[in-house]
């Protein structure tokens, strides 16, 4: 993508080019991620926003190369600090995971081992990648817990003894245990209350200040708008709009972005919400042309026939025929 190239500056941590991840089901091929290109700069906090099924989690799992059959990455490049993750051997990729890219999942209860103490789980992760003895690793685990706002003695707790928010803090501690430069958080606060969410977000922002790049995947547009430097809007496997958070919210270009903003209740914008017509498409049989056209109030003839290009408008990228 020429345009994406021209927009990004030099200090890029992550460069994704033309990435497609498909799921091969009995009903047909589901294009969960469909030729996506994006960049992430050093110390940048990026928010990927979309509804369930838009491909945002699949994109994250593709970066980590954690896609399981019947899913498969079918094309594209994921350049991370210069190396193409898709060309690495499994063994090399395992070293990247955790050590260079950390990931926080939505449900901390299913990602933590219920039978093992918190401390042991962190120690195990550290010892897997670093040559340190148990005592040293345990000390590091305590420091990690403290860095996410938990008392160090929580190393002796089992996951069930912690609340949801505390467990998610443990997950972040695990994800940063090996000091990765990139942290991917997939809906880290979806199951949590707002106050706990705010505390988790504060930790992510601290991670950014310490020099890491952050990818926050969320369905909560206002959360992404508030916390991230840049926003990517995904719809039906495509990135339909991408740009500076403040500008994107102030002046959305893609009709989907605009519709989404107008349909979300907002505590401080005392306004009526507008219903967005229709529903997200079946990705095995997506509509021809622009996948959003059946729901689009501005759809033209060409939208029904041809896929829109990704166009640069005022420093923003938008995949829509309106701007051609």
């Amino acid at each position: 993508m020429m345009v994406a190239e021209s927009l990004a500056s030099n200090n890029k941590v992550l460069k994704i080019r033309n990435l497609s991840t498909h799921y091969f089901s009995r009903r047909g091929v589901l294009k969960a991620v469909d030729r996506v290109s994006m960049d992430l700069r050093k110390q940048e906090f990026i928010g990927i926003v979309g509804e369930s099924g838009c491909g945002k989690s699949t994109l994250a799992f593709s970066i980590m190369r954690l896609i399981q059959p019947p899913g498969k990455i079918v094309e594209g490049e994921i350049l991370f600090n210069g190396k193409d993750l898709l060309k690495l051997k499994d063994e090399e990729m395992r070293r990247v995971r955790g050590k260079e890219i950390g990931m926080v999942f939505q449900d901390p209860m299913t990602s933590l081992d219920p039978l093992e103490k918190i401390g042991d789980q962190i120690v195990e992760t550290i010892q897997m990648h670093e040559d340190v003895d148990k005592k040293e690793a345990l000390e590091k685990a305590m420091k990690l817990l403290e860095s996410v706002g938990l008392p160090g003695d929580r190393v002796n707790y089992y996951p069930h003894q912690l609340s949801g928010g505390q467990r998610q803090r443990v997950m972040i501690a695990l994800a940063i245990a090996l000091n990765p430069t990139l942290l991917i958080a997939d809906e880290p606060t979806t199951a949590l209350d707002v106050i706990v969410q705010e505390k988790i977000m504060e930790i992510l922002e601290k991670m950014k200040r310490e020099g890491r790049s952050i990818i926050l995947i969320t369905h909560d547009f206002s959360l992404a708008a508030e916390k991230s430097d840049r926003i990517l809007i995904m719809y039906a496997g495509w990135i339909v709009e991408m740009g500076d958070s403040m500008k994107l919210v102030a002046e959305p270009l893609h009709p989907y972005t605009k519709g989404l903003i107008e349909s979300v209740p907002d505590i401080w914008l005392a306004r009526k919400i507008k219903t967005m017509p229709g529903f997200p498409p079946d990705l095995i049989n997506p509509p021809p042309g622009c996948k959003f056209h059946p729901r689009c109030p501005k759809a033209k003839e060409i939208c029904k026939r041809e896929e829109p290009p990704l166009i640069e408008v005022n420093g923003r990228l938008v995949k829509c025929w309106l701007y051609e």
Partner: protein, 328 residues
């Protein structure tokens, strides 16, 4: 406006399951005080938003209103009758006017029952229509909630519907009895973002058309503000603040309300930072005095000793030292 529902000193204590050995050594039963002395009223045609974090007791309040949970004590006065003292036929007749919409549309519909029958059954149970009339009413209601063509949806099974469509069925099922009061328990929290507005607007349309009253339970303050005329904030089984939506949101008096407000994400972030400490206390053992005091950045000696009453006129707050702030 006249009052349709009044809740007085409502309490629900759940006994804590104990092991045999614990029972053997201590005679005292322990309780989770899920709802602990809650009072409020709802006017005809009014929506009261009930907000709070998970575990604060808001869902239990809703379940007691529709009779899915027996109160430990207190009164639920609906249309001048105390529901807690009614039994049998009389109680069933009253509950026709008091319906509920649940959070999870995947769990609240019968997977083996056709969509149409979900609407026909309540009509038949309450003897409001004959078989053929019931079908007609059901079809009209399916259309009303946007499930068109209704005759196609009528014969489908829940698994053939999306989450948003299922929630429309749940709304239709509640509305088919023309209730005067509906408890909506987090009706959009499991719905896709772009479809939420449609469901919320649908619910609001019934309010206008039927002069429907509603208790709208949600953890999302943005939604609470949008749909509610008034708002009640719960913390650890108690209402800590209640009043007109705009007043509570723009001039919160309770530090907990203010802390919630400062944590809500928004497209237009306000410069409001009211902190909150630690985690929610165990409802088995709520802190003495004000239950919020261990987390409150403004707590003083009095807060640790004396439990504050809910005081005030229309905008009421349970706090010894209410805030005086205004958010524009």
């Amino acid at each position: 406006m006249s009052e349709i529902l009044r809740v007085e000193n409502l309490k629900k204590y759940f006994p804590v399951q104990k092991s045999f050995i614990e029972v053997f050594f201590s005679k005292e039963l322990e309780f989770i005080r899920a709802v602990d002395d809650v009072s409020f009223s709802v006017e005809e045609g009014e929506i009261l938003s009930l907000v709070g974090e998970s575990g604060c007791g808001k869902t239990t309040v809703g379940r007691m209103l529709v009779g899915l949970e027996e109160p430990t004590s207190g009164k639920i006065i609906f249309k001048n009758k105390d529901l807690t003292s009614l039994e049998g036929e009389e109680r069933r007749a009253m509950h026709r006017h008091l319906q509920i919409i649940f959070q999870d549309p995947y769990a609240s519909l019968n997977p083996k029952m056709k969509i149409g029958d979900h609407l026909i059954d309540p009509l038949l149970i309450h003897g409001l229509a004959s078989n053929s009339e019931a079908k007609e009413i059901a079809m009209e209601m399916l259309e009303r909630v946007g499930l068109v063509p209704a005759d196609q949806f009528f014969n489908r099974l829940p698994y053939q519907l999306s989450g948003g469509q299922r929630q429309r069925v749940a709304i239709a099922r509640a509305m088919v009895l023309k209730p005067e009061f509906v408890v909506a328990d987090e009706p959009v929290s499991m719905i896709d973002v772009s479809l939420r507005a449609a469901i919320l607007n649908l619910l609001l349309s019934f309010k206008d058309e039927y002069r429907l009253s509603m208790l709208f339970i949600t953890h999302d303050l943005s939604v609470a503000r949008l749909v509610g005329d008034r708002i009640a904030v719960m913390y650890l089984g108690k209402i800590v603040e209640i009043g007109d939506v705009d007043e509570v949101v723009q001039e919160p008096k309770h530090p907990y309300t203010a802390a919630l407000l400062s944590a809500v994400p928004s497209f237009e972030k306000k410069d409001l930072r009211i902190d909150i400490k630690g985690d929610v206390a165990n409802p088995r053992n709520p802190p003495p005095g004000c239950r919020y005091h261990p987390r409150c950045p403004f707590a003083k000696k009095e807060c640790k000793e004396v439990e504050p009453e809910l005081t005030g006129d229309r905008h009421r707050v349970a706090c010894h030292f209410p805030l005086e702030i205004k958010i524009d």
